[in-house]
Amino acid sequence: MNEKPDKQNSLLVVDDELVVRDSLSKWFKQDGYKVETAEDAAHALKKMNDGPWDIVLLDIKMPGMSGLELQKRLREIDPSITTIMITAFASVESAVQALKEGAFDYVTKPVDPDHLSHLVINALRQKKLASENALLREHLSEIISGDEIIGNSPQMKKVIELAKTVAQTDTTVMIRGESGSGKELIARAIHANSVRRYFPIIAVNCGAVPETLLESELFGHEKGAFTGAQYRRKGKFEMADGGTIFLDEIGTISQKMQVQLLRVIESKQFTRVGGNEVTHSDFRIICATNRDLEAAVKDGTFREDLYYRLNVFTVFIPPIRERRTDIPLLVQHFLKKYSAIMNKPVVEISPEAVDLLVRYDWPGNVRELENVIERAMVLAKPPSIRPGDLPFQMVTKHHTPTDDSIASVEKAHIEAILSKTGWNITRAAEILSIDRVTLYNKIAKYGLSKP
């Protein structure tokens, strides 16, 4: 081989002929590969548990399951597997079939040694490029969808500063904040600014995974650990090796999981479900919750020792209603984002609409704001978003006076009553104890209009 493998690349040779298995195994071992052999499909499938294999050399004609059928099965287990078909009986049909089903190449026995060497090198190179490409795409989508953290308010500036400071360390971080306030965004920002940034950040929403599956999700499982566990599977802690694991909604995990989690955090070691082998992983933990963990500790539903392990450094993200000055910035940001995504030339938002958005209470925080803008972008007639494009509930909900003058209090009150009655002038006039003409005059005076 003309180039040294970066790590020990692994090869699985599947052939029913002993001499072929032996000679290929010898040939590749001399090249420094980790090589194992299997005499038939059943043995090959068993060997998948010793993988992952970089390349599988597959004989097409074997007793029992054919190489083509086996290739399909292998791909179900590991979609990224690279297969090279080797056969003594070359036929155009089988070659076409093998390539159609994703084989890297097809060669006939005996193979030219020079050809075989280059074939395997090229297959490895392509595999490496494909996995690099997938990783880069993932990073890119994180960059695109992750967005930068928007906010000029003193509260947000403090959050950003804290995140930057803690990113440089390996400390466990707990991010607190209401639902939709951007906890995962901060976690990703911390990871992206840490020394672990070239390794993955693995996010697990502990609240979204059923309790029974969470253990296998986090620690992985061995083949046969439970019904349906046909093959060994890596857990999130193992995937996060070298990087960061982000445990969202940590407050929802059961007492049993809390004990296991505590042990993993302390030892950085764990065993897969149904296995005995101790696995090591080097990860940093960032967790997030919107629950009152202190109360949970007090009433005994959350372990105190785990709480202290996780609550080393806390970043609190203030709800959007406590930093209303950030709303126009966020609105502009989402406007640009959705204008690009939807390819719609809506590039501005009317001051009245911004005013409504700033005054709304945002129980769903930034997530809600983003959804509102996305929805408004769908409805809006280019080039701008108007109050009518915003969800009706919001328009009706807040008619707070802009200042304390009689006029603005009167305007807000009339607006609220009109909304309440669905702009039924007679009914609104009755409630306001004024006649309809006066109401019409006031509507004209304050420039109110039916949404």
Binding site: M1, N2, E3, K4, E17, V19, V20, D22, S23, L24, K26, W27, K29, Q30, D31, G32, I86, K109, P110, V111, D112, P113, D114, L116, S117
Partner: protein, 185 residues
């Protein structure tokens, strides 16, 4: 490890084998001798369909004949070798085992329609002999293109590398030889 024994596997040009003794001694720093007794006739390893000789079978025959040999065996021949899955091999060795074989068949320029060059054949044979013996010392293919353990699948590839080990491969050979052999240096 005490020595390297060279066997002529007929048909073979004995002058080629004699030419290997001194350089192999200098490279491996162990006694190298040419043995005239007990060689293997490769006729049994001939494959009529391929018109080639199975090198793996020749290695097995050597192993059976010398089960207790303390040292390495190198069989040298001019027949065309193959292993079942490959079209040809220049030689074959047992990784970290006692036996290796090499063939001069594909090292000869006349096979490629070029003028004969006996000196070049000798040079290539030495490199392949050192390479296969290197495998018997547990060495795998080397990244350094100048190192004799660099892989070669064509005769031109052999010409690029030297007949010497790179420092790290040499250190491996020394380690395998063990302290008992260091006095021979």
């Amino acid at each position: 490890m005490s020595s390297i024994c060279l066997f002529a596997v007929p048909p073979c040009d004995e002058s080629l084998i004699k030419g290997l003794i001194v350089p192999l001694r200098s490279i491996f720093q162990v006694p190298v001798e040419m043995r005239l007794d007990g060689t293997i006739d490769p006729a049994f390893a001939f494959d009529v369909y391929r018109n080639q000789y199975n090198s793996t079978s020749v290695i097995s025959a050597f192993l059976q004949r010398f089960p207790d040999l303390d040292g390495k065996i190198l069989g040298i021949t001019s027949v065309d070798f193959f292993v079942p899955v490959l079209t040809y091999v220049f030689g074959e060795a047992q990784l970290d085992g006692p036996v290796a074989v090499v063939s001069s068949h594909r090292l000869d320029n006349t096979l490629y329609g070029l003028p004969a060059n006996q000196e070049l054949v000798m040079e290539r044979l030495l490199k392949e002999a050192v390479h296969e013996l290197g495998h018997t010392f547990g060495l795998i293919h080397c990244h350094d293109y100048r190192c004799v353990m660099h892989t070669s699948t064509t005769a031109e590839d052999i010409d690029v590398k030297s007949e010497r080990f790179c420092p790290s491969c040499e250190a491996m050979v020394e380690k395998k030889k063990g302290p008992a052999n260091n006095h021979s240096k």
